[in-house]
Symmetry: C2
Amino acid sequence: MARENYEEQLDRLTGLLATMSREAGAAIRGASVALFDVDRAAAEAVVAGDAVLDRYRAEAEARIPEVLVRHQPVASDLRLVVCALRIAASLERMGDLAVHIAKVVLMRYPVGVVPASAVPVLTAMADAAARMAEKAAVVLATRDHLDAAQLALDDDEVDAAEKRLLSLLVSGWPYGVESAIDLALVGRYYERYADHAVNVARQVVFLVTGTIRL
Amino acid sequence: MARENYEEQLDRLTGLLATMSREAGAAIRGASVALFDVDRAAAEAVVAGDAVLDRYRAEAEARIPEVLVRHQPVASDLRLVVCALRIAASLERMGDLAVHIAKVVLMRYPVGVVPASAVPVLTAMADAAARMAEKAAVVLATRDHLDAAQLALDDDEVDAAEKRLLSLLVSGWPYGVESAIDLALVGRYYERYADHAVNVARQVVFLVTGTIRL
């Protein structure tokens, strides 16, 4: 009976983390709209919305150790605490990175940050990042290591796109140093976002299988 | 008796975190030597040495929940788990950021990354970052919120220096876009390093006082 209650609590916790993942996905999609459409309202919404993820993280952090100590923990439960806290931290950080992108947009507004020649490569990063947040939510629900492996492939795509972006910027970029730095940083934010999404999936797999390899 | 044993375990845990903090300090000092002296061996040592911090983090993560579950935890112990895991995560990440700086050096070697005109501002960042890691180790030992407040001041210095660096890069930087991007990213790595050092101090204060404000 106590154990059943424990499973229920774990499911609620996983559900909270999946909700965080969808929020992080909404944040990066909003930031990408702001970036490509030079949409100030979208950027401001991302900045304002970040408090939601911060609250969820606090809620997860309060709940995770309580789930543990109310029950006789076994070794895999200890691992769960560490993994769940890492997942919550990564998801909150993904929100922060979306905010960083939104703030670059606000800093340059009404001037756009992305010249036409950089749209394809940054769109590839933005789409992959948004996809990864959705997939991370799926992995949290299914705890399926094949779903998790998908995220590593998306991450490779983001890394490759970041390399293409940097090549573009250093090959006679005609929009000046400030523009190049803005875009290099935006590229880095997407890349870090993707890394954290992979980390979420990796922690879930670790939780289920005890091995970290994807 | 059990409680005494618990305190001992906590002290060992804090000691491990303080060791991590000193390792993170050594890493950023090594990365800064590599950066300013164009010293390949120093850069390689930072990259190779990062495994130590990764191992410490794994050790901390294994030990933290065990300390908790072997004893009757009270509310502040639950907080301790979350804080200690956050601290371990920040310290490991500080090592990663030092590695990122070292890798920029290796990528451009034997060409130096920092032209003379950027040395003062980057030295300010490097010195403050190294100082902050040492202070974080002190805070872990003393758990004194006044020591912790010091780190916020250093962090302001790093943020101000990063702004100066970016201004320098966008005001007719004569070394090309690639150089500007390298330096903007190096500046960001120092800035993130400093943020994590502040986070370490903040978590310690939270642990002791129950409030997060510095």
